[in-house]
Amino acid sequence: MKAFTRHSGVAAPLRRRNIDTDAIIPSREMKRVSRHGLGEGLFAGWRYTLPGGREPNPEFVLNRPEYSAASILLGGDNFGCGSSREHAVWALAEFGIRAIIASGYGAIFYTNCVRNGVLPVCLPDADVEALAQLVESDPQANPVAIDLERGEVRCGTFCKPFEMDSASRHMLLHGLDPISLTLQSDAEIVRFEGARRARFGWAFSPLKSNASEGSQDVEKMKSTES
């Protein structure tokens, strides 16, 4: 995974509440069985004039020349709520977004960001608003600098500390692969599993035959209740 220590770049304000992952990458833009080729579909519903089309909507922030090189998004509260599709983060990363600054995130989206080296920064909404106003006055002249090691967002005279849970911070700073990390605990997983099997055998017994089993006796299946 790509590490994140510090980054400075143009920030684009997209200050709406509840920007959902359907808006970040509409499902119709997830065309291939792949994590790639998604950047073009980023915010497609807002970015292009017609659904499925590719004619840029000049009004949309990322189409405005002063924001074309944006690598940071300034979002609204509950950013990335909704669907769990990791495609939203893959699309952002492919477009060149390295960090998002918002007052809150959808929980699955937040983890997806961390797993892909995109930094989700939490600042109070009033601070994000102040930052957006500063940036809007001249986006190129006012790049936003984010330092994860120090936990700081800067832009001209604007300087605010931010906090991040230590696990996510550690993963991002070092670009770690969580699967490799967890596999180091394999002995503990095996031990736990054995103990769980001894105590809750019923949780495991139905699984013995699953892989080979065909259809269930569905007529006996109770799909009713009073």
Partner: protein, 478 residues
């Protein structure tokens, strides 16, 4: 976390799945079941293959075809979604290669993941279950520890049978008192989200409790927990009781014999201790809840069906005001407009929120002896083939088709737009689904979320209305 030694239900489920505490402050959480679907499952399995990582325990993993598969009768691998077939074929190949049980397009048990997992007894009280789909929290309704994840996390889950998770805080929402007749679990949860906000449970696992929740049938509890992610909860849970035991007894994959006895004995311990401490609590008087519907593009933008579209100028918070204005523009509505003056173009009954047999029965009861209003399109999509068969045994399909509805095969269908089927631009849909986001059901499609009863009543009236209000308009002609 409780400091008194007393535990919440969520704490108990967490404790019984905690492999170890990690230095990072996360817990390594053991997973009993992992569910995949064709929208993202193949990508996760390909990712594992590319990294030369085996699936640790393939018997724990299940996969269904629900998101992209067509729901037209007689369907095959072809879908209206361009390239949809690629996802279906890749999913079939990848699951076969690692020995994962697939509920394929033509499998008699195929259906939406969150519908078939309890229906088949693959999800059970006290088990942990994850799926790369945000509505996995549905399974909290039976007392499972269940939550939605992304693709990278799905790879982690399959490679290690665990996830690294920071423990969420505990929130309890108590619905106390009796519901008014005609008010459903969908109305309860829409009311809750409208009252507290779509981000109300961010950072929390929520327990739904109180006498009105205990009174709910099992399938209604699944509906309630389904919407927990629209409340920003990481997960939701309802204490399993004798109704849940009765629901699972005899299900195909449910434990049997001595295993069943042992399971039930454990399930009876799955409730919050009386002295358990919650980090936050809300109390809602269930008797004040009325049939509800969303007017905007966030589930928090909901009102009573007997109410009016709100006026953004009366909303104090600038962010919410701007969002309301934007939503009204998208939805083509005026401030102050009575809800029952909103004419609809289509009615959709389906999705992991409301496509179970009890949902179809409730909608059918409203439709009996009635027909769709002129010009309104109606679609019913059972959540699983099991539900479809059960409905057909009861003759519900005939009732739906007599009323003018299309009767479909099982899947997610038009709950969301994947590039294939849609209701169309500027079409207004009353829908039993869970998301009313811009473009969710198709570019510029306008979605209003409601219970199956309200969807059926609105379909007959031609405008948004509750079943009770429809009944007041006159008896159906038999």
């Amino acid at each position: 976390m409780a400091t008194t030694g007393a535990s919440t239900l969520f704490d108990k489920l967490w404790r019984d799945h905690a492999v170890c505490e990690l230095d990072s402050g996360e817990t390594l959480v053991y997973l009993d079941r992992i569910f995949l679907h064709e929208r993202t499952g193949a990508i996760a399995l390909q990712g594992l293959r590319a990294a030369a990582r085996p699936v640790r325990t393939p018997q724990q993993v299940f996969c269904t075809m629900d998101h992209i598969v067509d729901t037209f009768p007689g369907r095959g691998d072809e879908t209206l979604m361009p390239s949809g077939k690629d996802f279906i074929v890749a999913t079939r190949e990848e699951t076969a290669a690692v020995g994962v049980r697939l509920f394929d397009v033509d499998d008699p048990d195929q259906g939406i993941a969150h519908v078939i997992s309890p229906e088949l007894g693959l999800a059970l009280p006290g088990l942990s279950l994850v799926c790369p789909d945000s509505h996995t929290c549905t399974l909290g309704g039976i007392g499972a520890l269940a939550w939605g994840i992304g693709s990278s996390e799905a790879e982690h889950a399959m490679a290690t049978s665990t996830l690294r998770v920071k423990k969420p805080k505990n929130l309890r929402v108590c619905f106390e008192g009796a519901l008014s007749p005609g008010v459903t679990a969908k109305d309860m949860v829409l009311h809750l989200i409208a009252t507290i906000g779509a981000n109300g449970a961010a950072g929390y696992a929520v327990e739904f409790a109180g006498s009105a929740v205990r009174a709910l049938p099992v399938e209604a509890r699944l509906t309630m927990c389904n919407m927990a992610v629209e409340f920003s909860a990481i997960s939701a849970v309802i204490a399993p009781d004798e109704k849940v035991e009765a629901y699972f007894h005899g299900r195909p994959h449910a434990p049997q014999g001595e295993d069943w006895q042992a399971a039930v004995e454990y399930w009876r311990t799955l409730r919050s201790d009386a002295a358990a401490q919650f980090d936050r609590e809300y109390r809602i008087d269930a008797s004040t809840i009325t049939p509800s519907v969303t007017w905007g593009t966030s589930p928090e933008q909901a009102v009573a069906t007997a109410g009016q579209v709100p006026d953004p100028d009366c909303i104090a918070d600038p962010g919410r005001r701007a969002a309301a204005q934007r939503a009204l523009d998208y939805q083509g509505l005026r401030p102050g407009q009575p809800i029952d003056s909103i004419a609809i173009d289509a009615a959709f009954i389906g999705s992991c929120t409301n496509s179970r047999i009890s949902d179809l029965r409730a909608a059918a009861a409203v439709l009996r002896g009635r027909r769709l209003a002129a010009g309104v399109r109606g679609v019913v999509v059972p959540g699983s083939r099991g539900v479809k068969r059960a409905a057909e045994r009861e003759g519900l399909h005939e009732l739906f088709t007599a009323a003018g509805f299309e009767w479909r095969d099982a899947g997610c269908s038009m709950c969301f737009y994947a590039g294939g089927e849609t209701f169309g631009s500027n079409q207004r849909v009353i829908s039993s689904t869970n998301r009313n986001f811009e473009g969710r059901q198709g570019p510029n499609t306008r979605t209003h979320l409601a219970s199956p009863e309200t969807v059926a009543a609105s379909a007959v009236a031609g405008f948004i209305t509750s079943a009770a209000a429809l009944a007041d308009m006159g008896e159906p002609v038999q």
